[in-house]
């Protein structure tokens, strides 16, 4: 696609604003998967986008916007040469900065009855996404990242 003539939004695949609920997140992930299945992105990249969105969007619902009625999330997915650019915006609580750099898996205990049941989300995000950028301005969180086509 000729980017010079296309303009800044021409490669936009998804641009949507939806309620910050777990059920709305579920519906959006299904919608994104259906949309990407129409493009020439690989199945592996489509899977990675779905997994990444599950973590990022539910994190916004459960932490940033927890308890806020009628709150909404903006999601924009743009096609890039090497993959996809994903951006979210919400007007909730700021993201704790330590989550942005890297994440470790929860400790694996010797005894399986002590296994952790949470703490995997940000590890998954960092494992899949590159170029994580977070900005907080005028009470709005803007998180963006890139997903590249996985090597075959």
């Amino acid at each position: 696609m000729p980017s010079a003539a296309a303009g800044p939004v021409a490669d936009s695949l998804i641009q949507v604003r939806f309620p910050a609920t777990e059920l709305a997140v579920r519906a959006q992930i299904a919608r994104v998967r259906a949309c990407l299945a129409q493009t020439c992105t690989s199945a592996a990249l489509q899977e990675n986008v779905a997994i990444l969105l599950g973590e990022i969007l539910n994190n916004i619902v459960e932490h940033s916007l927890a308890g806020q009625r009628d709150a909404r999330i903006t999601l924009v997915i743009t096609r890039e040469e090497a993959g996809l650019h994903v951006e979210t915006q919400d007007s909730g609580r700021p993201l704790p900065p330590q989550l942005l750099t890297s994440a470790r898996l929860p400790e694996m205990p010797a005894d399986r009855v002590d296994l952790p049941e949470s703490g995997f989300g940000w590890f998954i995000i960092h494992a899949l996404a590159d170029d994580m950028v977070y900005e907080r301005a005028n009470g709005t969180n803007r998180l963006s990242c890139r997903l590249t086509e996985p090597a075959r």
Binding site: E22, R26, I51, G54, N58, L105, R112, E117, S118, I124
Partner: protein, 113 residues
């Protein structure tokens, strides 16, 4: 949360009739499985063949189910699709659950768990 349950030998086979175990459904999944495996002391095999999506909340629910089984038993997952497999591998939880290619392989594996 739609889950069918069958007893196959000493194994309880739980057949998930849902396309996802996600944040919206993780709690219902956990509680449904809890009732289905109550009083069962043999193996527990979860048919994941229809599950197209798993997120970290769903993964946490699978871990919670595994912990319900206590120290002596593993949770066995059969027929995991690409997204489920990827989430398990990324988080290294593929080493915690017992994975089978499909239900028949799982039920034939007598020494599992």
């Amino acid at each position: 949360m739609n889950i069918d349950s069958e007893l196959r030998g000493n194994a309880k086979l739980l057949i998930l009739r849902e396309a996802r175990i996600d944040a919206a459904g993780a709690m219902a999944f956990k509680e449904k499985v809890r009732t289905l495996i109550a009083d069962h002391e043999g193996r527990v095999v979860l048919d994941m063949g229809r599950v197209e999506f798993l997120d970290s909340s769903g993964l946490g629910a699978l871990v919670a189910v595994m912990k319900m089984l206590g120290r002596g038993r593993s949770l066995e997952l059969a027929g995991c699709g690409p997204v489920v497999s990827k989430v398990l591998t990324l988080t290294r939880m593929d080493q915690v659950f017992v994975l089978h290619d499909d239900v028949e392989t799982a039920l034939a594996a007598r020494d599992a768990a």
